[in-house]
Amino acid sequence: MIQYYFDWSVITRNAGALGEALLLGLGLALVSLAIGTVIGLAAAYARLSCRPWLSWPVWAYVEFIRCMPLLLLIFFVYFGLPEFNISWFDKTQSFILTLSLYAGAYMSEVFRAGLGSMPKQYVEAAKAIGLRPWQRQRYVVLPVMFRITLPAISNNLISLFKDTSLAAAIAVPELTFVARRINADTFRVMEVWLSVSALYLITAYTIATLLRLVERRYASIR
Amino acid sequence: MSDQPLLRAQGVRKSFGSVEVLKGIDLEVRQGQVVSLIGASGSGKTTFLRCVNLLEEHDAGDILLDGEPIGYRVENGRRRRLSETRVSAQRARIGMVFQQFNLFPHLTAEENVMLGLTKVLGKGKAEAREIAGHWLGRVGLEARRAHYPYQLSGGQQQRVAIARAVAMEPRLLLFDEVTSALDPELVAEVLGVMQQLAGSGMTMLVVSHEMLFVRDVSHHVVFMDGGRVAQAGPPAEVFDRPDSDRLRGFLGRFHGMFGGVRH
C-alpha cells in the first residue's frame, strides 16, 4: 500500500474560506427553496385546475424539468440567456434562477400530492362555518397542507443543498468550487475531499434533524 | 391405530415479554383424528398452533411429532435449536392454513400449490402440475388453476390455500381460524372442504369459532382458557357437560346458534 501522510494544516489554513463557501451554498439552497415554493404552489394549483390551458403547460414544465439534467439547465440559463440579450444577471443570480425553476417543479409535485391527500372534512367544515373560497385556502387548506408536506419539503431542501455543488461548474464560489481550488493549489486530495464530504454530510443531517424538530412541533396533525 | 400419538405436546410454555401466553399445554393428536381447540381470543390457541409449526419458538416443554421433538434436539440435557434445513424439513411435514389465506400474490392458484412440491419435495414440473390439478379439483377449483389470487373470492383463495397445504401430503394439517376473515356467505364452502378432508382420514388440528363445525367434525375438543387446557374430551362431553362456569359462559355465547339445529 502506498503511504499517505495527512497534513490537516491545509484545512485549518482555509477554514475561513470553506466556512464562507458552506454558508453561500446554504444561502443558495434556502433562497431557491423559497422561490421554488412560490412557483411550486402556483404550479400545483394550476395543475389541479380543470382548465387544460392551465394544467397542460404545467404538466409539460414539471416533466421537462424532471427529465432534464440540472447541470445542462445551469449551463443553458447561464450561457443561453445572454444570446437573447438578457444579461443583467451575474453567475450567482443565474444559478439561483436555475435552481428555483428546478425546485419549483419538484415542489409542485409535493404540493400536488399534499393537496390531493387533503382530508375532505376540513374543507367541508370550513364551508360549514361560512368561509369564502380564498379564505378556505388561506386559513384551512394551506396550513394543513404545509404540515402534511413538511417531511417532503425538508427532503427537497437537503437535495437542493447538495445540488448547490453544481454551481461550481459556473464558478460560483461555493463549497465544491473552493474545494477544487484548494485541491488544485495544494494537491492534498484526501484532506480536502474528506473535509468537504464531512461538511456536506454534517450540514445535511443537521438540516434533517432541525426540520424533524419542526415537524414534531406540528405533529398534532396526522 | 398405533400407540404413539402423531403429535404430543408436554408442558409447552411460551411468553411474549413478561406475558405468559401458554402456561404448560399437554395435548395429544392421534393419527386420523380431528382435534379442535376452542376458547376465547387471547386464550393461547393460535399461539399454540404457531408453536407446533415453529412460527413461534416455545420456551419450555416438548412438542413431539412421531416421537421426534420439533425445533430442538436435546444434547447433554440442554435444548439446542435445530438448523434451518432441519426446521424446514419438519415444517414440510406439517401443513398450515392461515386466517388471512397468505396466498402468494405473484403466483397463480396452480403455481401456489406447485411451489412447495417442486422446491421442497423436489418433484418435477409436470408431476407437480398434475398433483396441483388433482388437489385444486378436490377443492372444486380446477377451472381456476390459472387465476391469480386477486381474481379469486376470499372463499376460493382459502380453498387454494388448503390445496397448497394438503398437496404436500403433510402428516398433520393445522387450521388457524381459517373462516374468520371470510364473508359469512363464503364460510360454508371452506368448511365443506375441511369436512371432506376430515372424512378422508387427514389428521387435523383446528382452531375455530365455528362451533357447529367443531361439534360435528371433531373427535376430540380442547377448551383453552388463560393459557391452559381447561377441559378436553369428545365433543358430546365438552359441549353437553361443561364442567366449569368459564366453559359454560363461553358456550353460552354460541347458544343461539345451537338452538336451531340441536335435536
Binding site: G80, A204 | G95, N102
Partner: protein, 226 residues
Amino acid sequence: MLDFSMTPGAFGFEAWQSRWSILSGVGVTVASSGLTIVIATVLGILFGIALSYGWWWLRLAIRLYVDVMRGIPVLVLILFTYYGLALFGINVPAFWAGVIALSGFATAHIAETLRGAVQSVPQGQMEAGKAIGLRFAQRLRYVILPQAVRRMLPPWVNTCLEIVKGTTLLSVIGVVELLLASQQIMARNYLIVDFYLLATLLYLIINFAIAQIGGVLERRFSYLRY
C-alpha cells in the same frame, strides 16, 4: 436560431458536420448510464437484502454506507473518486472513476428502496413460505423478492433517470459525454442555444425511453395487485 439550412454557420450544416461527435457523446452517456444501472441494481439488491436480514454488524455497516452516500453531493463523490484513485496510483480512466462514483451513489439509493419494499411485503407471506417448508434462501428467492421487486419498480425507474442525469457530472472530470461533446461543438461554432436545445432533446429522448421501459416492466408485473 435553429436555422436548418445547409449553409456553413447555420445549425443544420453545423449539426451535420458534428454528427459523429454528438453520436459518440450519446454513446458515452448511454454506456456510463447503462453500466451504472446494472452495477448499482445488482449491488443495491444485495445490500438491500443484507440491510433487511443481515447480522447486526452488517446491517450497521451498510446503514452507515447508505446514509453517508445520501448526504454527500454526487459531484463531490465523483471528484473525490477521480482525484483519490489517482493519488493511490490506481490509474483508471475518468470514465471508470465516474462510473464507480455514480454506482456508489445509486447503490445506496437502490439498497434503501429494496429494504423499504421488502418491509412492505406482509409478514404472512414469509410465514406461508415457512409453512410449506421453504428454506430461508428459497423464501427470499420465490416469495419475498418477486413481490419486493414489483414494489420497488417505480422508485427504481426514478433512480435510473437520476443516473442518466448524473452522467452529465462526468463532464466535470473531462469525460466527453453528451453535455461536454455539445459544449465542445459550441466552442467551435458559437451556436450555443441551438446545441443546448439539441442536447436537451436527446436527454429527453433517453429518459423518455427509460420511463417507457419502466412502464412496460410495470405492466408485465401487473398481476401483483392487492
